[in-house]
Subunit: 413 residues, 2 copies
Amino acid sequence: MKVLVLGGDGFCGWPTSLHLSRRGHDVVIADNFARRAADAELGAESLTPIASLDTRLAAWHEMGGRRIGFCELNVAEDYDELAGLLLELQPDAVVHFAEQRAAPYSMKSAWHKRYTVSNNLNATNNVLAAIVDTGVDSHVVHLGTMGVYGYTAAGMTIPEGYVNVRIAADDGSDVEQEILYPTNPGSIYHMTKSQDQLLFAFYNKNDGVRVTDLHQGIVWGTQTVETELDERLINRFDYDGDYGTVLNRFLMQAAIGYPLTVHGTGGQTRAFIHIRDSVRCIDLAIEHPPVPGQRVRIFNQMTETHRVIELARLVGRLTGATVDLLENPRNEAAENELQVDNRQFLELGLEPTTLEEGLLREVTEIAERYGERCDRSKIPCRSRWTRDRQAAGRPIPAEEPAQPAPDAEPVPR
Amino acid sequence: MKVLVLGGDGFCGWPTSLHLSRRGHDVVIADNFARRAADAELGAESLTPIASLDTRLAAWHEMGGRRIGFCELNVAEDYDELAGLLLELQPDAVVHFAEQRAAPYSMKSAWHKRYTVSNNLNATNNVLAAIVDTGVDSHVVHLGTMGVYGYTAAGMTIPEGYVNVRIAADDGSDVEQEILYPTNPGSIYHMTKSQDQLLFAFYNKNDGVRVTDLHQGIVWGTQTVETELDERLINRFDYDGDYGTVLNRFLMQAAIGYPLTVHGTGGQTRAFIHIRDSVRCIDLAIEHPPVPGQRVRIFNQMTETHRVIELARLVGRLTGATVDLLENPRNEAAENELQVDNRQFLELGLEPTTLEEGLLREVTEIAERYGERCDRSKIPCRSRWTRDRQAAGRPIPAEEPAQPAPDAEPVPR
């Protein structure tokens, strides 16, 4: 199939593009290097030394991979270019990663909230409007998040997007309806993904746009079969307080002898998926598109749930790292249970890569190999979620980079 | 109280500003004249000859009204100015009308979809982010729409924003939860108001921002006690296919001898409110703010429901006008029932202005007085809701104005 990957230079986008290419799809990447620009803004960097996209694409071809095309564009702003690309490529699927994807980053300041809302919602709306406008019947595969559900489900398994509810009718009888699971996002970032759901539902209902929305858990690991082939293909490894995600941060902290940063009690239970499974899931979604007229299809893209403190203890046992309980910057429940339904991907043939020591060690080895590249000052999370906490005498530390103007020049790649 | 009215030059914003001023509030209007610019874009005009805002404000003061301040700014774009205005004014309430508010306009083209999404969501997010950012504890009063609910409620009264549902838990018992009424918007415009709800819920939960969201019915009428005082204070009267709303369009069509344009069977039941009640409701909401810590308060701002065909017949009986059944451009149910709960405003003392002949005649008289200003070519609705209909050989008529570039110069006021 022909696949357009929006945001194909990022942490999920890059290994997905390679995996789809190896699976025989014709892949074109569109990206504006916003993720690399955020690194420059934050003074942070991937722990692994990622090559420029030009180098990555050349290396992939050199290693025998199919040619992957590239178009530099801002999906949220360059509508005409996006529509032109759709008309030119007529892709079977558009994989939409072109959103700001870090919750702490989205809460850093008013500028970051505004950037996240404007970028994410305009990007999604542009993709959908362009599909209707051009008449190109691409299947949209969107990376959403488990976080849209919130983490307060009392005694029930989180279903795949839709839930049956009963409502009392005026005559005392029950009305039964299937509705989108009511969202309870915990950050501006998560909120935009909840708002994306309404965009998908509308364009699907009104225009029949075919959409698969993947509610992804926290991704861990860094390498896939494809990115391991050559060092120039290596994937990002984020460890900073904004873009680093919990398990990868623990593994990297252990590798460099930094105490594991647990926010709050660590009683939070979250859903996880290894990057290798993430790219497989996207391929499965593309190869099994919704039929015409089908409502928005929602898959929970996760393979297991874990309590954060238990992950920290596991990493501690494997590596001897100590655990540091820090004040939680997030406005969230200290503890929660979490059961998640992920039947649909299992039925499509996904064989989950679960947390096991071998893979944990592999990640730790990568972290050790590039440990000298770590800037320890970037490890703490400095976002303050609420105005109360911002006002409570915790000024933003001096090393915090100044916020860029909205029209700041992008970083050269 | 000090009240900042965002979008205070528009159809609801202007009479609201005058009413609040007469009620003794200190009012400042912020507006970017987007509504006047849309008139220029569409080649349409208010049937009533509206004065420039400067003239309006001077006339109000001349008639003995309190001074109303004005700041020209784009709420969706001029964040720093908006935050500065909040700091300077420290308003008790911010009334947020600064959104593109026409469903057909939002469906005209990809450009109009994109403008509506970007403008409406960035405006709402900017207001909320600025309140958190500045620490000014203003009560946000937002104009939402009954349309977020959709019109498919089967046998149940539409509640005021929240609904109790029961969900089956894993152990077979029932979990009861109060959730936001699941939305089912029928246009991009209505969808943005559904997305606004998620913004309000998030900022309320995370930062304690106090919000009243008014789910307004279709407004009819044009004049209020205040706008009637002088012709320079006259309110807008929209009759074109984009911004004109159903009952006002019928009354104006009757006045000029144009057949009443009923879309589809006219079996659609909708909620209505007279502009006089609309401005009173906003004053009631401001004078009874939510307490600190209160969740987002949602009121249904409507006073009665009517079936469209019955309204057409009523106007026909009063005026002798004929009824024209036209193909419905909207992708909506041909017929629906509608019961709506509006107890909260009644409890706050609202005395509904219901549809009666006297008021209908008053509107018709205004339409007759300015009938010579009518451009009959602007009456038909030319928006095509879906790509199927757009593709079905109905090209956009030649008189359709070219869509403006996003950075088109605003129309001088």
